[in-house]
């Protein structure tokens, strides 16, 4: 028993917050008297209460030292790698609308590969480009799924029309 486990406590508190939000939002759901008995709030209420009880149990367990092995507890996640991945996702959200799927994907692909320790940026970008072009043609052209068309995609589409 090595004292309290910080990560687990934070997690349990986070879950407790979520259950609080569930309960609060459940009370916000207006209930028409017709449905008063089996209305739209019964299951949400049960979910909120259940989640609350469970996160309380988790909190108790965390305060008693947590449930993870010491080896797991001592492991510090690679924050730099996670940072690269976070940057990649953020770039993707920002770029996919204005720049289109392919550009957004190549940027994300390269940043994620960087996060996993690859330093060959040019290679990663070109593989990412090939990969996302194939994916675009497969999904958008073959399956007809719209996945975000920017200038590059419009160019491909017009090329297809020419053929």
């Amino acid at each position: 028993m090595g004292g309290a486990a910080r990560g687990e406590i934070a997690l349990a508190l986070g879950l407790l917050c979520i259950s609080g939000i569930v309960l609060w939002q459940t009370l916000e759901i207006p209930v028409s008297p017709i449905y008063a008995r089996v209305g739209p709030t019964i299951i949400p209420m049960m979910t909120g209460v259940g989640l609350g009880c469970l996160s309380f149990a988790l909190l108790v367990s965390a305060l008693r030292g947590g449930w993870q092995t010491d080896e797991e507890k001592e492991y510090t996640p690679d924050k730099l790698a996670l940072g690269w991945l976070g940057a990649g996702m953020l770039a993707n959200i920002v770029l996919i609308g204005p720049a289109g799927f392919t550009v957004a994907s190549v940027v994300m692909f390269t940043l994620v590969a960087r996060g996993f320790g690859s330093t060959r940026i040019l290679r990663d970008a070109s593989i990412g480009l090939a990969f996302s072009l194939v994916a675009y043609i497969g999904f958008a052209r073959a399956l007809g799924i719209k996945i975000g068309a920017g200038p590059l995609e419009r160019l491909i589409d017009s090329l297809f029309k020419m053929i």
Partner: protein, 503 residues
């Protein structure tokens, strides 16, 4: 032998060139994603859900089923050669299989697992054909209250009994149920938990939840500990032809594994972990060379692999006949049914005989294809293990984006995807199971619907769940399932506590 007639008509559906092509595509794709660490059948089928708008249902389900079975075959290859079990059900395969591979007998381990999967998959699929009509007869007697109790049973077993901790499993389940409740309540038209966000009125799409948890969460997790581990891939050595001794040591475990796996999988409780572990301990007990266990005993690969595949087949029984998914993959398949407006349940076999029997027949065909894909062509699949991690995970994230952005071209969905991905990462980091979340998202709204129907019929009387004999006995089983391991755990922890004191 009505089932045989139906099966014959199913073969007529499955053997058309186009459906054979879907089956082959599914099996190939399934093996590939099974081999690749970080990708699983639930995620792949979720990413392919949009094809339900384009392709007719029979073809889509033949594809999905091929992926489902194929991933089992591919997954065992990775456990044997890489010792990183992709899913908990293949932990046992890695136990002995990886030891065999290290001892230079990778060929025999792969062969016994592929042939065992084939035997179990074939018997298990025939089992579906014969068991499904029987279950349907029982299921027709079910009322909403009984259905609700059955779902409670599935909830309890999937989250509380099968995982390492009941509290963590149930937390994951409740999180999933809550995610499933978000959006407009279909009965009253009330918006629930939408926080005034327009995009949430339609609910949280299960694709986003599955892709977020399985693809984004997994990628973040692998990145966070990219420097630890460093699994070595054991080169393919040893003949793929099993020796006479290996055959004679394998065939009984295959059959015993199937006999354990299929019934447990077919129960509304489901889960592949319990049968694989049971099979492992059973083989250890039956083996003439128990001292080999832990050093690469072939029985320890043959039995659990068969149990795993047989239970995967079994899971399809409650899914097709009751509309009750007991694994993440089955839950995603259920949402594919919903996307076609088809309700799996007792009526499915009468309303969609072509679909159901075509699916079952194509599973049998798929098993033959998978055996051919996985044994002679094994070297090809092993090559996939050499894809560098940066490219593999970057590719997974790009695919995750396609699957999500394709739903409604909304950047909001991407934000949601990455938020759920972060939750998935935290769940992996702190040892929470993720499958109960998916089950909760899919089954939660169905459970609520049955609950409210039952309560309406009983005019708001809560006791209806305990006074109907069927419902009451199912709830009793659920209570037993959640309490029995607790009692056992308590006893076991006393014993192990004594051991710690000794050492």
């Amino acid at each position: 032998m009505e089932s045989l007639q139906h099966l014959a008509s199913g073969f007529a559906v499955a053997l058309t060139p186009i459906n054979l092509m879907w089956c082959l595509l599914g099996c190939t794709l399934g093996t590939a994603i099974g081999v690749l660490p970080g990708l699983g059948p639930a995620l792949t089928i979720a990413l392919l859900l949009p094809i339900t708008f384009k392709v007719e249902p029979t073809a889509a389900f033949i594809l999905f089923a091929g992926i489902y079975y194929g991933a089992m075959y591919g997954g065992s290859t990775t456990s044997i050669l890489l010792n990183t079990p992709g899913e908990s059900a293949t932990i046992v395969t890695a136990l002995e299989g990886n030891k065999m591979a290290r001892g230079g007998r990778a060929g025999a381990a792969l062969a016994t697992s592929a042939i065992g999967s084939f035997v179990a998959g074939t018997i298990g699929t025939l089992g579906i054909a014969f068991l499904a009509p029987v279950v349907v007869d029982i299921a027709l007697k079910f009322g909403p209250a009984d259905y609700f109790s059955l779902m409670v049973l599935a909830f309890v077993t999937v989250s509380a009994v099968l995982g390492s901790s009941a509290i963590r499993g149930l937390s994951a389940l409740f999180l999933g149920i809550w995610l499933g409740l978000i959006g407009i309540d279909l009965q009253t038209g009330q918006a629930r938990f939408t926080f005034g966000v327009q995009e949430l009125l339609d609910g949280v799409n299960v694709i986003i939840v599955a892709v977020g948890l399985f693809a984004v969460g997994e990628t973040l997790y692998m990145a966070s500990r990219r420097l630890s581990g460093g699994d070595e891939i054991i080169p393919l050595r040893g003949s793929l032809w099993m020796t006479k001794e290996e055959w004679s040591r394998s065939w009984k475990p295959w059959l015993r594994g199937t006999a354990i796996g299929f019934p447990i999988g077919a129960m509304p409780a489901g889960g592949a972990e319990i049968p694989t572990f049971l099979s492992y301990f059973m083989e250890k007990k039956f083996s003439k060379k128990p001292e080999e266990f832990g050093h690469g005993a072939i029985e320890g690969v043959a039995g659990p692999e068969a149990a795993n595949n047989a239970s995967a087949a079994g899971v399809l029984v409650p899914m097709l006949t009751l509309g009750l998914p007991t694994s993440a993959t089955a839950a995603i398949m259920l949402s594919a049914f919903q996307s076609y407006g088809i309700n799996p349940g007792p009526m499915l076999l009468t309303t969609q005989p072509q679909l159901v029997w075509g699916l079952i027949a194509s599973l049998l065909i798929g098993n033959v294809m998978l055996l051919a894909l996985n044994l002679p062509m094994i070297a090809l699949w092993v090559k996939m293990l050499h894809i560098p991690a940066p490219l593999l995970y970057a590719g997974i994230l790009v695919f995750a984006t396609i699957g999500t952005y394709g739903i409604s071209q909304s950047p909001f969905d991407l934000v949601l995807l990455y938020v759920i991905g972060t939750i998935g990462f935290l769940m992996r980091r702190y040892d929470f199971p993720t499958a109960p979340v998916i089950i909760g998202v899919i089954l939660g709204p169905l459970a609520e619907q049955n609950f409210r129907q039952a309560m309406t019929i009983s005019a708001g009387d809560w006791t209806v769940f305990f006074t109907r004999p069927l419902s009451a006995s199912i709830l009793a089983i659920a209570a037993f399932a959640i309490l029995a391991p607790k009692v056992y755990e308590l006893a076991a922890s006393r014993r192990s506590g004594a051991l710690i004191v000794k050492s």
